[in-house]
């Protein structure tokens, strides 16, 4: 509790502010809610993409906030007679990683692209030339596979303008030449035999996981006083006890803001009004605090509210967002982490939603930095050529709650460590 005479007057003001903030609509069990900054955004505006991330502008495609991609075509395009294409150019295009990731990301395609680490999200096309497909079918399947299979996860390469008609004809001509089973250079190149990655590192060992160093920094932040003279420690002097399970109950619906708040946004908004400290989301301070607060709840099973009307509605919205096709490549979360989960996209393993939340924030060894779940969401979008949203976007709140609900019961182990 707040002590010390010099702080008394501000302290009284704080408590008064807190007292007005009673959770509306929670019925007889109205409780005093934690003071939160309710006006300002919790992250930088306008949102600026992280340094080093692709600078592509994908604003013409749907995002998790807007629907702007053109609808799927209703019929296949007519191709009369035989396609004339340059099979040699097609062979180059299917392996071109600068054009949306290359066909090899999802398909084994014989020896094309030297068959280094092809994926197995889509069927093996090594013998597609023997399958008796018409030229029109081959052309349209690349141009926009949705005309044959509305549930396809394949990007609409032609409809979305990634490849022009002649390039698609070249690729179709190449496919017709593929008549022999793939021969792999090594067993690892065969995605059906490549073993699923297993994370064996000790994520809570500070020598193995530099993510653990955030805990020392957070311990200092905890006692850092803001302009009002208050620190986290002013009210929460025993964080180990007070936050033993708190992070495992987040994210949570916040009626005052009409959105779902995760730990990171809560920290920003709560610290702002109680201490004056400005720990915007995706700043180092915010990440360190998030690692610390999650770490305090390590071992606690994830247990988010899934029963209140507001939470149910948020989870339904999150589920709809997870199924929304977005970006130039036209992927939904569920395309990779549902329909294609437990497959390889190139050399990357696509995990199921369960197990994708209990270790966040996590250390990324490939990047030498900590990522929280919102930055992970943002990267998924930039990676599939969609514009990301600011980390405090309400859509991410809904998505995070939906993801957390799918991870119900898994025990927190933060900071995680992933490549």
């Amino acid at each position: 509790m707040i002590r010390g005479g010099t702080l008394a007057s501000s302290a009284a003001a704080l408590i008064a502010a807190g007292a007005i903030l009673v959770v509306a609509g929670s019925g007889a069990q109205a409780q005093r809610a934690a003071p939160l900054e309710l006006k300002a955004d919790a992250s930088v505006r306008p949102w600026v993409r992280y340094n080093g991330w692709p600078a592509r502008d994908e604003s013409k495609w749907s995002t998790l906030a807007t629907i702007s991609s053109p609808p799927a075509p209703t019929a296949a395009r007519k191709i009369v007679g035989q396609i004339t294409g340059d099979a040699a150019n097609g062979a180059k295009l299917v392996a071109d990683r600068n054009r949306g990731g290359s066909c090899l990301a999802c398909h084994v395609m014989g020896q094309s692209g030297n068959a280094d680490l092809p994926g197995n999200v889509g069927p093996n096309l090594s013998e597609i030339g023997n399958a008796g497909r018409t030229d029109e079918w081959l052309f349209n399947y690349i141009f926009d596979a949705r005309v044959y299979n509305p549930d396809t996860v394949m990007p609409p390469w032609g409809s979305h303008g990634e490849f022009n008609d002649q390039e698609i004809k070249d690729m179709a001509a190449f496919l017709k030449t593929m008549k022999k089973p793939a021969v792999f250079k090594t067993e690892l190149d065969d995605p059906d035999k490549r073993p699923a990655p297993v994370e064996k590192r000790e994520n809570l060992d500070a020598i193995e996981n530099p993510g653990m160093w955030a805990l020392d920094k957070a311990a200092v932040l905890w006692k850092t006083r803001g302009s009002d003279g208050f620190s986290c420690n002013t009210c929460h002097s025993d964080p180990k006890t007070a936050f033993k399970t708190w992070a495992a109950s987040m994210p949570k619906w916040e009626p005052r803001l009409n959105k779902v708040l995760g730990v990171e946004e809560f920290v920003t908004r709560h610290a702002k009004v109680t201490t004056g400290l400005n720990w915007l989301m995706e700043t180092e301070e915010n990440r360190d605090m998030s690692v610390y607060l999650h770490n305090l709840a390590n071992g606690a099973p994830i247990s988010v509210d899934t029963t209140s009307a507001e939470s149910k509605a948020a989870i339904e919205r999150g589920k709809a967002l997870a199924n929304r096709k977005i970006g130039e490549l036209n992927f939904a979360c569920t395309d990779c982490h549902g329909k294609s989960a437990n497959h390889w996209i190139r050399g990357q393993w696509l995990g199921e939603p369960k197990g994708q939340y209990d270790h966040f924030p996590t250390w990324r060894t490939s990047l030498q930095t900590i990522w929280d779940i919102r930055q992970r969401f943002q990267w998924c979008q930039v990676n599939i050529r969609a514009d990301e949203l600011p980390p405090d976007a309400k859509e991410y709140g809904d998505l995070e709650l939906y993801l957390a609900s799918q991870n119900d019961g898994l025990k927190l182990s933060v900071p995680g460590i992933r490549h």
């Binding site: 060992d205 500070a206 020598i207 530099p210 160093w213 020392d216 920094k217 200092v220 030498q368």
Partner: protein
């Protein structure tokens, strides 16, 4: 804030036992070979010396050079004959010396 070194040493050991010591020093290990946006060389800033002493006697030391990766990690063995204190030090190019120590009980 300066990063603190990480140590992993058994708390106790048998007389004459060979124990494993792991140390990690968070540090950028700037090589002095890189250039910034304006083409200017980024000055070298590395941990250039590491030492480990036990009860005042040198156990292990190393001179590090530009090619050593960030967060230098040292793993080595030592034979302990008596209880005492391991002292470690890391010397930065700028002269800063970071030290740490850890006690071990030999029974």
């Amino acid at each position: 804030m300066a990063e603190k070194p990480r140590l992993k040493i058994p708390k106790d050991a048998k007389k004459g036992e060979l124990i494993e010591i792991k140390t990690l020093m968070p540090h950028i290990m700037e090589t002095g070979q890189r250039k910034d946006k304006d083409g200017k060389t980024i000055p070298r800033k590395i941990i250039n010396t590491f030492t480990c002493e036990f009860n005042g006697k040198s156990v292990f030391s190393a001179n590090l050079d530009s090619a050593v990766a960030a967060n230098p990690y040292m793993q080595f063995f030592a034979k302990v004959e008596e209880s005492g204190t391991f002292k470690f030090s890391w010397t930065d190019d700028d002269g800063t010396v970071t030290t740490a120590e850890e006690k071990i009980t030999v029974g």
